[in-house]
Amino acid sequence: MLFLIIVGVIIGALAILLTHLGNPANMGFCIACFLRDIAGGLGLHRAGVVQYLRPEIAGLGLGAMAVAWLKGEFRARGGVGLLRFVLGFAMMIGALVFLGCPLRMVLRLAGGDLNALVGLLGFVCGIYVGVLALKSGYNPGRAYPQPRGTAFIYPVVLAALLAAVALRPQFIFFSAEGPGSMAAPVLASLGAGLVVGILAQRSRLCLAGGIRDMILIRDPHLLWGFTGIFAAALIGNIALGKFNLGFANQPIAHTAHLWNFLGLAVVGFAAVLAGGCPLRQLIMAGEGDTDAVLTVLGMVAGAAFAHNFGLAGSAAGVAPAGRVAVLVALAVLVLIGFGHRLQAKARRSEKEVA
């Protein structure tokens, strides 16, 4: 418990530091936003204001890889496959409608953004529905050991992203304005990512897991990390005069309550079905979990679609296409989470007919 609080406090403090060094407001860390920026940096979407190969993401994966290796937990494994890609995709659609992953939700709350409180309610409800799916018998199946080499695919891709940030080749996009242009120095971003990657790997921190375990088995263990992040970021924001309580005029946020709620409900639901929040997926990907790598790829693809088709939220709110996308994502998650019940019913009625 103490370790998780300390990990949370360090993450919260680093997030405030990164914001201070140049990252966008309440976005010291945001897994969804950073993956969206990476999708943009690679040219997978052409929203010019959100394109940057965020070194934090590489740091998270490489830090997790290094410490997992030292502790004998770096193992190639996988087997669930396509399902995890779809869950990552859905997670990203929900997160970009809300404008942040669960980690940024905590940081937005700590900045006084009450829209994040609406998001938190949605997140809890989504997790609750995910727990209902688990209780009704949802089981994504088992991961099995994979050839050792497959564990290196994700770290190699991360190293390539870092190389691209350093060399700035012509085919990589860098925002000249907007959130994508706001960034802490590369080495600070990378260093913070490495530290958080190591700490998150050791503590198994998961923003969805705390609420899930509380509902499912009354275990508050992981919630302590959540609390630590909030407390440190809150104190940091107040000390730096960046705390601004209210709904209106919050940085990179909108006040469409229903869509803030449903956006994070999608993230919470998908996170339970995928075995962890977006941050946790990055960490597991670094450990050699190829299903988590697929989840991350799903998130990147989701971000590309979100911006190519105008699904993402903005300060102006959520466009009709984004609303439809959230509802479709929810429908897909219900089908994934409760689909086995349809099968069971069909089998029963077949027997009755026979």
């Binding site: 997992a68 004998g72 937990e73 193992r75 494994r77 087997g79 669930v80 688990l134 089981n139 994504p140 088992r142 991961a143 099995y144 050991p145 198994r204 998961c206 897991g209 899930r212 375990d213 499912l216 088995i217 275990d219 263990h221 995928a274 075995g275 962890g276 450990e287 299903d291």
Partner: protein, 69 residues
Amino acid sequence: MELDVTGLSCPMPVVKVKEAIEAGKLPLQVKVSAGAPRDNVKRLAQKMGLAVAEKPAGAGAYWLELNAR
């Protein structure tokens, strides 16, 4: 009783072990993957006041023997 929860994603290992304990299946031999599942099952057992003995099972897995104190 033996229970293999290797390769299951969170929170299935803990859920399955808890079900088995509550069904009175002690002593329980659980095969878990290294990392979060191993930590979580051990924490659950300790919370439920059980004794835990551990030995490596190879290929990144462990056998945990859970028993009443």
